[in-house]
């Protein structure tokens, strides 16, 4: 199964990607909690792509296995200037408490909510690849 979305930068377009996660995750038999976690993660990845990507983004969904465990694979790709993922700080509550700006949570949430995350970034192409294992409801 593969889904590919070419999304323009328009308000709330991230919800189109979240809806696709809901549909594909449901078809794979994912638990609702896993679907909701993947939905928040893809929303954050799309918001980052819209903010830094400089134009249309591409979202791909597919399935793969990880040490024998089936998983939903999500890729969000943009054509922005890129960044060094190793330099992207992991945000924390103590860092933002009392600060005027409370932004900068996207990658932190993605890493916490998904089971596997890989970020490849070069000038002109940034790809966030993330996986949520399919863990069926008991």
């Amino acid at each position: 199964m593969e889904v590919v979305l070419h999304l323009p930068v328009v308000p709330n377009v991230e919800l189109v990607a979240a809806k696709a996660v809901e549909t594909v995750g449901g078809a794979l038999g994912m638990h609702q909690t896993g679907i909701e976690a993947a939905s928040v993660a893809i929303v954050e990845a799309c918001l980052n792509a819209m903010e830094h990507g400089g134009g249309q983004m591409v979202v791909r969904m597919s399935t793969d296995t990880f040490d024998g465990k089936p998983g939903l694979v999500i890729e969000v790709e943009d054509q922005g200037e890129g960044f060094d993922p190793s330099e992207a700080p992991r945000n924390s509550a103590s860092r933002v408490h009392g600060c005027t700006s409370k932004r900068g949570w996207g990658l932190t949430l993605i890493r916490e909510l998904m089971d596997e995350v890989q970020i490849r970034s070069n000038p002109g192409k940034t790809q966030v690849r993330m996986c949520k294992y399919v863990e069926n409801a008991p």
Partner: protein, 122 residues
């Protein structure tokens, strides 16, 4: 799950105790709508706010950042903020972003009202 439009109700349910029921996507607009309702309740004398997120399934970090601002405003005024009816993912997101360090989470509105109104009358 992906209803965009935030449906929001606010009410003063006891002396100094305001309730906001919010269902929908908590993005910048949804977060701001909750913040505006919270500010109105605080201006009306509420020092304890309960935000019921029954019906909210999807959030983003920009919307939650606005909720963090409400929390800090309440804390400055020695107020209290509580949430109820969170999905496991929203609860985990609040934990990651630090809301649970300063706000109390209740499973449902009945339990929250009992605890908060009871505590307020001590």
């Amino acid at each position: 799950m992906n209803d965009e439009q935030m449906k929001l109700q606010k009410d003063i349910v006891a002396d100094g105790f305001g309730l906001i029921a919010a269902a929908g996507y908590i993005n910048n607009e949804g977060g701001q709508a909750i913040a505006d309702a919270a500010t109105e309740l605080i201006d009306d004398g509420c020092q304890t706010l309960l935000i019921d997120l029954d019906g909210t399934r999807i959030i983003n970090s920009i919307g939650v950042s606005i909720l963090l601002e409400i929390m800090e405003k309440l804390l400055e005024d020695k107020g209290r903020l509580a949430f109820c009816n969170l999905t496991p993912t929203i609860s985990k997101t609040f934990e990651i972003m630090g809301l649970v360090q300063y706000a109390t989470i209740y499973p449902d509105q009945d339990e929250a009202r009992t605890a908060l109104i009871g505590a307020g009358s001590d």
